[in-house]
Homo-oligomer: 282 residues x 2
C-alpha cells in the first residue's frame, strides 16, 4: 500500500504561488481519523525536496488556525520551506473528552497518555514525533530536514519534543509557550489526567526541567508578549530562562511589550521565526 | 457629545507595532448597533494623521474576517495606512433577515434598500459612504484621504461606491468582485429584495453599468482568481473589462491562474493592493 492510498485530500488553495492543502488519514498511533494541513511552497518538487517546519497549535485549535491567521505562507514561499500543522488532539466519536477547553479534544498536550480513559487515543507525542513525519516525508516532496515550532500548549510541545529528540530537529522555536507546565494550572490539570499523579512522569514533559538538564542543544528561540493575560500564571518564561542559564542552553528569549496571546502577536513575528529556522535548515 | 461617548471599544490587539481594535456604536443610518474594526499603524498620531483604506467584506463576513486572514497589517504598518473594516449588514434583534446566506444579515450589498421589510435597517450605502467615515475621521488620528477596496460582494461595493462618488476616494480596488450583479444570481436576488423589481434602480449599483457610463475616473485595480468557483456565473470580470474599454476607464484587471475565491487568494495579493493605494494616497 502506498501513501497515495492512506491520505485523502480535503481542500486545496493556491497561496503565494504554492499550495495550502488539508488531508485526512487513519492514524494508527491515535486510533482515529486525523486531519492535517500542509503548505507546499512553489519550489517543492520531486527533484527539489524542501525542508519542513512542523507547527504545533495551542488549546482549542485545529490544523486550520495557523494556516488562516499566522500569515506564514508569504515567507515560507520566499524561503522554500514547507509547513505542516497537525490537529491538537485525537478527535471523533468514541474519543474521550472533557467539558473543559483545556483537557481532551483540542488539548492533547503533545504527550502519550498512560491513564484511562485517555490512553486509548491520546498519544500526540508519538504522532507528532513519528507517525506524522513518516507520512509527510513519504507523501510529499519534502526532505528529512525538520524544524519545529508552536504556540502556547504547542510551544510547550515544540520545546519538549525538540529537547527529547536531539538531532531530530535543526532548530526549535515557540510563541508564548507553557514553559513550566508542572507548576501551571493548565499543565497540572492535563498532566494529572494524562500521566497520573506521580510528578516524576511530568518532568519528562516540562520544558524548564528538560532545559535545565540538557547537554545536547538545539538552537532555540522563544518570543513572548509582555501584555499576555496568561503570562504570570500559565506561561512563566522566566523559569525557562533560568533553566537555560543553568545548562548554558542557547536560548534566545525575547519579551515584546504590549503584545498579547493572540495570532496578532504570532503574525507580527512569524517572519523572524521562519528566517531563524531557514538559517539552520539550509 | 464627543465621539468618545458614541463608540465603545470591544478589543485591542497589538499588531506590527500598531493596534488592531474593534468598536461598537449606535448607527443612526442603520438604526441598530454596529461593530467595526480598525487597524491603526504605528505612525498614526494626533500630529500625524494617516490615510484610510476602507475594506468591504463579502457575503457572510463580519468586521473580523479581513483583519484575521488577509495579512494586511504588516504592509499597512510599513506604509503608514489605517484600515477600517465595517460589518456587511445591519444586525440584531428586529433586523429583517432571510434563511439564505446571500440575503439579509451578512449580505447588505452596500445599497440603500427601498423595499419593505428591508428599508428599515438596510442602508449600507449611506453607512459606508457617510456615517462611518465621519465617525472614523472624528475619533481617530486619520486624515480625509480615503481609498476603498473589498472582496466579492464587497468588491462590488467598493467599485460602485467609488464610481458613484468621484473624488471621494483616491483609488479603488477589488478582489473577485461581483462585476455585473444585474445578471448574476446573487445580485438579482439581492437587488430584487432591496431595490424592487424595476431594473432601472439596479443600474445605479451595477459596476459594469457605472463603468460604461463613467466620465470621471478613479484609479482602479481588480484581481480575480482563475480557479474561482464563482467566476462564470456570479463574478463576470469580462463584462467589467468590456465596460472599461467603452469609457476608457483606467482599469487594471488581472486574472491569476489557479487562485480561488478564498482569503488564501486575497492574502497573496493584498500587498500589491495596499501599495497601489499608497501610491495614490501619498
Amino acid at each position: 500500500m502506498t501513501t497515495d492510498h492512506v491520505i485523502e485530500n480535503i481542500s486545496v488553495n493556491k497561496s503565494f504561488g504554492g499550495w495550502n492543502k488539508q488531508y485526512s488519514h487513519q492514524s494508527t498511533t491515535l486510533n482515529c481519523t486525523m486531519r492535517f494541513a500542509i503548505y507546499l511552497p512553489p519550489q517543492a518538487s520531486k527533484s527539489n525536496k524542501v525542508p519542513v517546519l512542523y507547527w504545533l497549535s495551542g488549546l482549542t485549535c485545529t490544523d486550520e488556525n495557523f494556516m488562516h491567521k499566522a500569515a506564514a505562507q508569504r515567507v515560507a514561499a520566499a524561503l522554500g520551506m514547507a509547513i505542516v500543522a497537525p490537529d491538537t488532539s485525537p478527535r471523533g466519536e468514541g474519543v474521550a473528552d472533557d467539558e473543559g477547553y483545556d483537557l481532551g479534544m483540542g488539548a492533547g498536550f503533545y504527550v502519550n497518555a498512560t491513564q484511562a480513559p485517555w490512553n486509548r487515543h491520546y498519544h500526540m507525542y508519538d504522532y507528532v514525533v513519528n507517525e506524522l513525519p513518516r507520512l509527510i516525508e513519504a507523501a510529499f516532496p519534502v526532505s528529512n530536514k525538520r524544524a519545529i515550532s508552536g504556540h502556547s500548549m504547542g510551544g510547550h510541545g515544540a520545546l519538549t519534543i525538540a529537547m527529547l529528540n536531539p538531532g531530530r530537529y535543526r532548530s526549535v522555536s515557540a510563541f508564548s509557550p507553557i514553559c513550566n507546565p508542572m507548576t501551571a494550572p493548565w499543565g497540572k490539570k492535563a498532566f494529572t489526567a494524562y500521566l497520573g499523579k506521580d510528578q516524576a512522569a511530568w518532568q519528562a514533559h516540562d520544558a524548564s526541567e528538560l532545559m535545565r538538564q540538557s547537554t545536547q542543544f538545539t538552537p532555540a528561540r522563544v518570543d513572548q508578549g509582555g501584555a499576555d493575560d496568561f503570562l504570570k500564571e500559565q506561561l512563566k518564561p522566566e523559569t525557562l530562562e533560568a533553566a537555560a542559564k543553568e545548562s548554558n542552553y542557547p536560548l534566545d528569549l525575547r519579551i515584546h511589550e504590549g503584545y498579547d496571546h493572540s495570532y496578532f502577536f504570532i503574525s507580527s513575528f512569524i517572519e523572524e521565526h521562519l528566517r531563524f529556522h531557514a538559517s539552520h535548515l539550509s
